[in-house]
């Protein structure tokens, strides 16, 4: 369902939500200016279903549910008759606050909350107006509830008035419900995508098919930064079902066949000679050496508050530490996969993508076709975590399809996926702080050497904007350049910065003999929202009653999070028993269970990062080959998790990411207080 004509032909009542320079505008479908395509379509069909065409990618965060729920709330429509379809890609589907169509930054519900409610409310008022006219009953005597128009004691399904409602003017100021009238917001409606996921019917990117489809796998360089110099595919081409072997502009070598297994078999006999690279021969210790050396370079000073150096020198207590954190792999259970078909006059892309805009741009570039000839179909994402906002796998599929003139499904094997890069960046961080004899922190300096994302903004996020009230603060970043590709990984810069800053706060508390939770309360005394988050976590966890607890607080993506972890050592193995998490999300808890499940998941990913994960290097390439050498947290290691959600009067915060950053430092801090173990690198290893 991609063309305007198809959407207009749906019948019933159709509204469109369009981004204008002044913000979102709600329009009746037939009033759309000709050249524009809307950001969102909402259709109340003749058979009384509400369909919302959503411009966000469903990767497990429940965004289809979260957004459709807002329309259904104000329309007052039965949930079991609500459906969601992915909106097609187009220039007009961009997120207004990001400028591109992208699912990331924990922004989906935050940016659309009011607009979608207004759209639902507009529909409801239009239905009431048309019902009033056709029934000859004054507006005031008509109620719209649960998909039914009520006049006196008689009721009629909404859809009976839907087409007449299309002739009603759009209300200029539709009335939004008061919180006490909510039927869905604040409750946990069942997720719309779950039944088909449980039945095995949900279509992910890897599950797409076209007739006469070709399969492709791509052989990648053994180390980062290399290109193929010479490809000998003769023997590979003799494998049954193999169609072609050729190098790609990405630096890989494509093996194409009529079956996936033939691709994998043929690939074993492929001979490729690769060019040299700067990191050829590098091992883990070479990365560490390089980053520590870079940490001594002069970088960009991001923040100077007060006189940090003077305060440091004149204070009686000084604490310093250097932290090393590895590259991390996203490990989406669905590897990168894409089905692309470049035809002479049309291009179709099925992709599990977080960024439809970049897919569209890539398809335009490679196919040479205009936007109007390109159809991007967003499938379900078998995990995203940021990785699937990168489109290199889409570009490869398009290039192979163009060359072979056939629909091509490209699949990364697990080994390819791990080797493909786009990792959470490696970092070396130096922290130093000073305190007076009463234990008040007088200065804090933070310096990080890391490959920059977002022009360096990600390098210092969570520190440069920390809510901690520290009188003298210094933040500096050194941008590192290396051929190892880096990318957004759930919670981005806050993953490494929360770990270094929050374990360091505990080191200060340890050196000054203060309770680490009390120290945080002291640092947050001027921020009542953050203060309450820490206080609640202490209370819920039973802080102070047990010795083996660690606490960490972090502010990211507009939300405050504080976790308390209960940890013990059993036979020299770290065992995390329980994690209590408190999250303040701002003014409203739109869907409590979605928030809980996001925080539960973020904690598991944070623990996995704390205890197990590191991309390791051998000869400049990735040494991990599969899940046997890049291990993830397993069920037997999962702690009991308790999630508490708080609200406060302030702009709405995000949910998908803020629950991750405090996890690893909370565990490390428990080891410090419970066992005197000072952790300064991840994953935590006990020697």
């Amino acid at each position: 369902m991609t063309t305007r004509r198809e959407l207009l032909g749906l019948g019933g009542l159709t509204l469109a939500v369009m981004l204008m320079p002044e913000g979102y505008r709600i329009l009746k479908a037939q009033e759309l200016p000709k050249r524009y395509a809307p950001n969102l379509w909402i259709n109340l069909s003749r058979d009384n279903y509400l369909t919302v065409f959503v411009n966000k990618s469903e990767m497990g965060q429940g965004v289809y549910t979260g957004l459709a729920m807002l329309v259904a709330e104000e329309l007052d429509f039965p949930w079991e008759r609500v459906r969601v379809m992915p909106a097609p890609a187009g220039r007009a589907y961009v997120d207004p606050k990001m400028g591109i169509q992208l699912t990331g930054g924990s922004t989906s519900v935050r940016n659309m909350y009011e607009t979608l409610r207004l759209a639902g409310a507009s529909m409801r008022e239009m239905l009431i107006s048309s019902a009033s006219k056709s029934l000859g009953v004054p507006r005031e005597q008509i109620r719209a509830k649960d998909g039914q128009i009520w006049a006196g004691d008689k009721s009629y399904p909404y859809t009976q008035f839907a087409e007449l409602a299309m002739r009603e003017p759009l209300p200029s100021k539709p009335r939004l419900k008061e919180p006490k009238e909510f039927i869905y917001i604040g409750k946990s409606v069942p997720r719309i995508d779950i039944p088909e996921k449980v039945e095995g019917k949900a279509v992910f990117g890897i599950d797409t098919f076209e007739e006469n489809m070709l399969y492709a796998v791509v052989e990648r360089p053994p180390y980062f930064g290399a290109k193929p110099l010479r490809v000998d595919g003769d023997q590979a081409k003799r494998t049954p079902e193999v169609v072609d072997v050729f190098p790609l502009s990405s630096g890989g070598v494509a093996v194409c066949a009529n079956s996936l297994w033939a691709c994998q078999k043929a690939r074993q006999s492929l001979k490729v000679e690769w060019s040299e690279s700067f990191v050829k021969g590098w091992e883990d210790k070479d990365f560490e050496k390089y980053f520590l050396q870079k940490l001594r370079d002069k970088g960009h000073v991001e923040k100077v508050k007060g006189s940090p150096q003077r305060a440091f020198e004149s204070s009686p207590i000084k604490v310093e530490e250097t932290y090393i954190q590895p590259y991390l792999y996203h490990a989406t259970l669905e590897p990168m996969a894409c089905l692309a078909w470049v035809k002479r006059d049309e291009c179709i892309v099925y992709a599990p993508t977080q960024s439809q805009t970049w897919v569209l741009e890539t398809a335009k570039r490679i196919s040479g076709l205009p936007e109007s000839k390109i159809r991007v179909i967003t499938t379900y994402l078998g995990g995203g975590f940021g990785r699937k906002a990168n489109v290199e796998f889409v570009a490869e599929a398009l290039e192979i399809s163009k060359r072979t003139s056939r629909p091509v499904k490209l699949i990364y094997t697990r080994e390819d996926d791990i080797r493909s890069g786009y990792f959470r960046p490696y970092s070396a961080t130096h922290l130093k702080a000073s305190a007076d004899r009463q234990g008040n922190i007088t200065s804090l300096s933070f310096k990080i050497a890391v490959q920059p994302l977002l022009g360096g903004r990600a390098s210092v996020e969570g520190v440069e904007n920390t809510p901690y009230d520290i009188p003298n603060l210094y933040v500096e970043r050194v941008d590192v350049e290396l051929p190892v590709s880096v990318w957004f990984w759930r919670s981005v810069g806050s993953t490494h910065n929360a770990f270094s800053l929050e374990t360091f706060i505990d080191r200060i508390a340890y050196e000054t003999r203060q309770d680490p939770a009390e120290l945080r309360l002291k640092l947050l005394r001027n921020n009542p929202v953050a203060y309450r988050v820490v206080q609640t976590a202490m209370e819920k966890a039973g802080w102070g009653k047990k010795k083996n607890m660690g606490i960490a607080y972090h502010y990211s993506f507009g939300s405050h999070a504080c976790h308390v972890a209960e940890v013990s050592l059993e036979k020299n193995r770290i065992r995390v028993h329980r994690v209590v998490a408190v999250l303040d999300v701002g003014p409203v808890v739109a869907h409590p269970d979605l928030i809980r499940s996001q925080v539960e998941g973020a904690i598991m990913m944070g623990l996995s990062m704390a205890l197990k994960e590191a991309v390791s290097f051998k000869n400049g390439g990735v040494a991990n080959t599969n899940f046997n050498t890049y291990e993830l947290l397993r069920m037997e290691e999962a702690p009991q998790v308790e999630v508490y959600i708080l609200t406060s009067r302030r702009p709405m915060g995000g949910v998908g990411e803020p629950g991750l950053p405090p996890t690893a430092p909370a565990v490390a801090n428990a080891l410090l207080w419970g066992y005197g173990i000072k952790v300064n690198r991840l994953p935590i290893t006990l020697i």
């Binding site: 996921k197 449980v198 890897i206 078998g382």
Partner: protein, 153 residues
């Protein structure tokens, strides 16, 4: 060698061409397009590809198709939607991205065939061989417990 094969999946007979050593996973998913069974690692360590061979849970990414001939293969599509496990998965809102869940459900299904009332420890021990990157582990345990009690939570 590419040869003709006949497979019995969810009670239905399918005919396909495939390499003799081709993993059952690729035959089910890519050649027969029963795409509910997922690819995760290709070496039997993540569990996404789990199907039943008779009453036994197997990793279809490691099983050559020739070894599945003549056996009763059950995939996620073969478990009815009203089965207590699937109902518990919906009831407790287990999946996030959902990609690993068919494998998790198939493993739990095999476990309940063997042992209709497993303890929490037995559930965890059995399902720890399955990876879930979204971190739905605790909900999975609750769902299996709930299903094994006949849907009473």
């Amino acid at each position: 060698m590419v040869k003709d094969f006949e497979l019995k999946i969810n009670g239905k007979v399918y005919k396909t061409r495939a390499y003799e050593d081709e993993p059952l996973l690729w035959v089910i998913r890519e050649r027969l397009r029963l795409a509910g069974t997922k690819f995760g690692c290709g070496m039997g360590v993540c569990g996404a590809c789990t199907v039943l061979l008779g009453k036994e849970a197997v990793r279809s990414c490691l099983l050559p198709v020739k070894d599945a001939v003549g056996k009763d293969i059950t995939t996620i599509e073969g478990i009815p939607a009203e089965h207590p496990l699937k109902r518990a998965w919906v009831e407790l809102q287990v999946p996030q991205c959902g990609y690993c869940q068919p494998g998790q459900i198939m493993e739990a299904y095999a476990l309940l065939l063997e042992n209709p009332r497993p303890t929490k420890e037995q559930i965890i021990q059995r399902l720890s061989s399955h990876l879930c990157r979204c971190g739905t582990y605790n909900r999975i345990v609750k769902a299996v417990e709930s299903a094994s009690k006949g849907g009473r939570t």
